[in-house]
Amino acid sequence: MKNRDSKTHTTGKSVYLDDIPLQHGTLFGAAFGSPVAHGNIKNLDLREAVKVPGVIKIFTAKDIRGENQIGGIVPDEPLFADHEVDFCGMPVAFVVAETDEAARVAVKKIKIEIENLPVIIDPRIARAAGELIVPPRTFALGDTAQAWKRCTHIFSGQADTNGQEHLYIETQGAYAIPQENDALKIYSSTQSPRATQAASCRVVGVPMHQVEVDVIRLGGGFGGKEDQANAWAAMCALAAHHLKKPVKYALSRIEDMAMTGKRHPYSSDFKIGLNEDLKIVAYEVTFYQNAGAAADLSPAVLERTLFHCTNTYFIPNVKAKAYSCRTHLPPNTAFRGFGGPQGMFVIEAAIDKAAAALGLDASVIQKKNLIRTGDEFPYGQKAVSEAVDCWNKAETLYDIEKIKKDISVFNASSVLYKKGVAVMPVCFGISFTNTMMNQARALVHVYTDGSISVSTGAVEMGQGVNTKIIQTAAHVFSVATDKVRVQTTSTNRIANTSPSAASATADLNCKATLMACTAIADRLKQVAADELHAPVESISFKDEFIFSDNIKTEVNWKKIVMMAFMKRVSLSEHAHYVTPEIHYDKLKEKGHPFAYHVFGTAITIVTVDCLRGVYEFDAVKIVHDFGASMNLAIDRGQIEGGLVQGIGWMTMEEIIYDASGRLRSNALSTYKVPDIYAVPKEIDIDFLQTDKDNLAIFHSKAVGEPPLMYGIGAYFAIRNAIKAFNPAAVIAFDAPMTPEKTLMALYSKKSGEQVFTQPEINEASVINP
């Protein structure tokens, strides 16, 4: 089945937040963000701004009757800065005006005096200053202190990854409409309707039953709208509640990029020990997460970094410690992979360093240490592994030996261009690591004409979850998919939703849909059994007809639905699904947090132009563990899209803050995501189809996040090509590998450990094009 939305998408009829028809009298908001990263507010002067024609009111912290607080995990994030600003772009005021234009003109007329305080943008400096969001966490397996003695080879080093802007093409936004009796309806571009509802209620000071959050769809989310959609909704809610008028705010791209957090940059130290057989015996790692100015989802992201610190390898002795460091950047947040990619980059860097020192190809070490079924992860869960199968299949299907041979032949004869190859195996755990969040509900109605309505807590943002929900319902009732409609995601229909995140949205919401549909189907079967005087076990649905003992009867779908209605049998069901088996003890840092793991292996081949320092990806060849895919087209799209997003993170996507904490890569002209020419010329995807029993919906494993981490192979492929050009090249493990870093590495010199680092950009040196 194709994506249900493809028809409205291609005709421009799909409705996103900014397309919702406006109610008469709608007002427009715009936020004023702090111009500096850290300081005390001495004076906020709104006098000129309120004089702008059309301005109705400017809201600040003083106007909040509820609580000036939107922090989800930790209550450390005011909606509006009150006395202190903690990051550049931190909202201080919200202008509401009759037109969008007037609101933005007024924002520019707001004056603020701030007494500057020291700015920290480096997580290691924050850690040294004791600026931690939450206490550090440590995962341990075996005993590393003892294990080092058994290692023949020990290597240590540092690895850094930069952040990543989500760059959903639809910016953040919300539209709040007052209802009778002080209630509010909020349209929001949010991945997390419950969180948006809760934050808005907290700020406005009303109970949650007074506020409905309704989400039609998102023009991309990628984690960026999991917690960070809340502020705009809360501002609109506050203003709408106060003014009794509808208030809308759709952020401009510049506002969105400046005010919202991104993927967390990490700086990490590693130490790896191998025995003579190249088995990794011990691994120690310390992560310094750059959390930004408030917790947001950082503690959860930090946790997943630890969960994935050994990627897809079995290492018997592990000690991993992680610090969530408070800096003066916008609060960093969820982004596809959720800390996992940052953890995996470090172990891959450690393996690369070991391989280079031992004169080996990294894939030799990678292959020897793949996790097998029954092996224990550092957090205590035993693996049910497809790692070896994926690796071996990739090796044979794509003939890795021939790839390597062809590359060495090419490199031997080419001077200006060098090729590099890297293998990137991944393992990603599926479930929210916070066990409590692994619950979902579905509300299914069958109408008397046989059409079916499904509501869940899932938010459609391009991942195709609504299509999978339709497939699930159509499968249970054995009806055509056009008989099923998935409704918008509304907190009035489905309460207390978990965010659409953690790759688990289809699993959770399809399972709940499956339960609800099955309950209705069971009742309909009883009606049919009574009508046909047949035992209920003999009744089945097939192609919109009732079958008895696999023989088609004259009773069709519509008829059985009407019969049930006449007999006063309920045609509606609200089902509640919780992922079984999972548990986690944070005190011991042990448990079984994941329903299952997803595995895969990617081979990345790159050609580096050694004269200019630019590169092109020849191919990425993947074997991916899909389980039994329930929608090949959608799942393929997730792999291709995730991979390219990962390659972007590792290559051209470079977040640049200057020393004063101001974002310099603040627009699409200065922050580059892959375009159509930047993607690999060839992406091969092999579906490792297995029908093993697992907790996924119809055994179809989650597919949202895992492929992003294939992109890490891009970094190591470039690295290998650079070394083919200059074997003595000194290359820091510092992603992204921009053309700048590539060129400087190509011509780096052996002497000393001098590594090219980009000098800090200060304000004086910035000139517009």
Binding site: Y16, D19, K749, I767
Partner: protein
């Protein structure tokens, strides 16, 4: 009063001519299929087609409506996604849908429009040209592979076009709505109502060419500015006058790409142009605008500096000639009076022993601003350099002609040692700064590499690839 045809209906509006087409269609006409992604021409979500009468036929080009003032569509046909919709999905939409080339869907109308632009263009309907048509559209979901598959299907559908008129072909094959067949006639009728170009009453008007930079830098101010639309005041022709190749201020990058005269003069021109912005921006941006914008990294400024172009500046009464390299005095400070604007640009085409190359490196190879760009125009006799003109951008406050380097090279014998020496001189006459496009030390080194690239590209027999291997 601005008049144009929007999809199937004629519009006349008193909105300010500086108002953006994007805002007009979305918020005044409620055509919400045109999306807002960045408002700086870098994502393509707001792409529309603009049809313009040229020699009795309508030529369609993709534009980013976020950088298009409505004054620039006066007398033209504007097509939004709604204007492409038929009773069922049109073949472009069907290809996108069949190939699962749409995920969140926000960028999709832009891709459909750009592919429709490919269908309506006179270019050969190859797969490569279909991809070029969508090179200004960013998708964050799909990783583009499914979009490539859809583009291949569309190219296949168009393969029967051969030499026939694209408008006729798409009408005959029911690829676009039937009303397209009548547009040329309607534009002709509309042109009679226009009274020529828009009248500008401002004393000191803002001159707008394509608007592709002005509308990035000064969007709010431009809405109510007194604008003189330069694109309406010249032709799109590139012609020979005596020894010179001459064109007007209204000539766009696409006009150059499609000019056989330019192709003959610079056989690799289209390869260079591919490195510059994207199809819609190339469709909109004028060369004159690129010069006047005076960006230190303006790609075409760098190219035309090397080939020694001259501009003719006029204040409406008097005009004067000025070699391009004399236009730039300091950062964004020009030898130009307030009322002066470029009316024409000319240059002499390269002689048989003159060679031209253009190099550019940016974070993303396509649709990005250069970290460093450089062009060379070199005349040789055997190994003897008769004249060399190397220009470089991104290495100082102005687009720079490397005069010291060039005079050093003049009369010398070309070999690898000479290039190494020339690079040292070039690096001494530049003053790059560290910014988001790279550190100063990188830009300086990169310029050296790109100078090597010029010679390796142009004279592979004389300058071996080993020049590249020579370490610093």
């Amino acid at each position: 009063m601005i008049r144009f045809i929007l999809n199937d209906t004629e519009q006349h509006t008193d909105m300010p001519p500086g108002m953006l087409l994007l805002d007009y269609v979305r918020y005044h006409k409620n055509l919400t299929g045109t999306k807002i992604g960045c408002r700086e021409g870098d994502c393509g979500a707001c792409t529309v087609l603009i049809g313009e009468l040229k020699n009795e036929e309508t030529i369609y080009r993709s534009f980013t409506s976020c950088l298009t003032p409505i004054g620039n569509v006066h007398g033209k046909h504007v097509v939004t996604i709604e204007g492409l919709n038929m009773a069922d999905l049109n073949p472009v939409q069907k290809a996108m849908s069949d190939c699962s080339a749409t995920q969140c869907g926000f960028c999709t109308p832009g891709f459909v429009i750009s592919l429709a632009g490919f269908c309506l263009s006179k270019k050969e309907p190859t797969y490569e040209n279909a991809i070029t048509a969508i090179d200004g559209n960013i998708c964050r979901c799909t990783g583009y592979k499914s979009i490539e598959r859809a583009a291949a299907q569309v190219a296949d559908l168009m393969s029967g076009k051969k030499d026939s008129d694209p408008l006729q072909f798409v009408a005959d094959n029911k690829m676009l709505p039937a009303y397209f067949a009548g547009i040329t006639m309607r534009l002709k009728q509309l042109s009679l109502k226009l009274n020529g170009a828009l009248i500008n009453k401002a004393k000191n008007p803002v001159y707008v060419g394509g608007g592709t930079d002005l509308y990035v830098q000064k969007q709010e101010e431009m809405k109510y500015a007194g604008i003189q639309f330069m694109s309406a005041e010249g032709t799109h022709s590139i012609r020979t006058e005596g020894k010179r190749i001459v064109f007007d201020q209204s000539v766009t990058v696409t006009d150059l790409i499609e000019s056989s005269l330019i192709q003959r003069s610079f056989p690799a021109f289209n390869k260079f142009a591919q490195l510059v912005s994207s199809t819609p921006i190339r469709n909109m941006a004028t060369i004159a605008g690129n010069f006047i914008n005076a960006s230190p990294i303006g790609d075409f400024t760098i190219f035309f500096l090397a080939i020694n172009a001259t501009v003719i500046l006029s204040d409406g009464k008097k005009s004067r000639e000025l070699p391009l390299h004399k236009l730039y005095k300091q950062y964004k400070v020009l030898d130009r009076k307030t009322k002066e604007y470029i009316t024409q640009i000319f240059f002499e085409p390269p002689a048989a022993n003159t060679f031209v190359n253009f190099e550019k490196v940016s974070k993303r190879t396509h649709l990005d601003i250069a970290s460093v760009n450089t062009a060379v125009c070199i005349t040789i006799d055997g190994r003897a350099i008769k004249e060399a003109r190397i220009s470089a951008g991104g290495v100082g406050p102005i687009p720079k002609l490397l005069e010291k380097t060039n005079s050093f090279l003049q009369g010398k014998m070309l070999d690898e040692g000479l290039i190494t020496e020339a690079i040292a001189i070039a690096q001494s006459e530049i003053s790059p700064i560290s910014d988001t496009r790279g550190a100063a030390v990188y830009k300086s080194f990169l310029l050296g590499q790109l100078i090597k690239a010029h010679f390796i590209e142009l004279f592979p027999q004389m300058i071996g690839a080993n020049l590249a291997v020579a370490r610093r």
